[in-house]
């Protein structure tokens, strides 16, 4: 079990008082705090890979943290692509990493 990345006793900012809820990422059941951005909940679970580049498949994660760079797009069931840095976590959310896609025009098939 790896050490949690949550800062539970911040010397100046105190504690976070948010409810613990469950969600899934790529099918795996995880816990996070209600209302925190999806990217934060995943990071707290040591998950940094949020998507694969659609063409190359290279791993990508949170970059700007303010909704600007679009790097943190994940697939949220029922909602399509969302920015993980801005989308608040809710109980039962089913989230998948953004995936590499075949290219129907160039004919590249691996995904």
């Amino acid at each position: 079990m790896r050490k949690s990345l949550r800062i539970n006793h911040h010397p100046l900012l105190g504690e976070m008082d948010k409810k613990v809820i469950s969600f899934t990422y790529n099918g795996e059941k995880l816990q996070g705090l209600e209302g925190e951005p999806i990217a934060v909940a995943l990071l707290a679970n040591h998950i940094r890979i949020l998507r694969r580049h659609e063409e190359s498949g290279s791993a990508r994660g949170l970059y700007c943290g303010i909704g600007h760079c679009m790097e943190c797009r994940v697939e949220l069931l029922g909602k399509g692509q969302v920015r993980a840095c801005l989308t608040p976590l809710k109980e039962g959310m089913e989230i998948r990493e953004g995936s590499r896609l075949p290219n129907a025009i160039t004919g590249r098939v691996d995904s």
């Binding site: 970059y63 600007h68 760079c69 679009m70 790097e71 399509g80 692509q81």
Partner: protein, 91 residues
Amino acid sequence: MRHVNEGYIVCRCEEVTGKQLEDAYLLGAITSRQLKMKTRATMGACQGRVCRQLVNLWLSKKDQCADKGVEPLSYRTPIRLVTFGELAGEE
């Protein structure tokens, strides 16, 4: 060793490297607009929010009197992530 490894990515969204900018430049793409059209730099998901200034900076260092060919502040609706559904006004 001033130019450390120019093979790395500059435009994150479209995975365009400094090397690709260089190659396109050598083949005649000498304005930032031409670089963009030839390499797709700035044309991805962030619409150049991250790399547009890098491409312009690179070009200005490449060629002091480069005609940048873009208005640095040309923006068009939508400037934020919005789906076809949101744009259409369908929730």
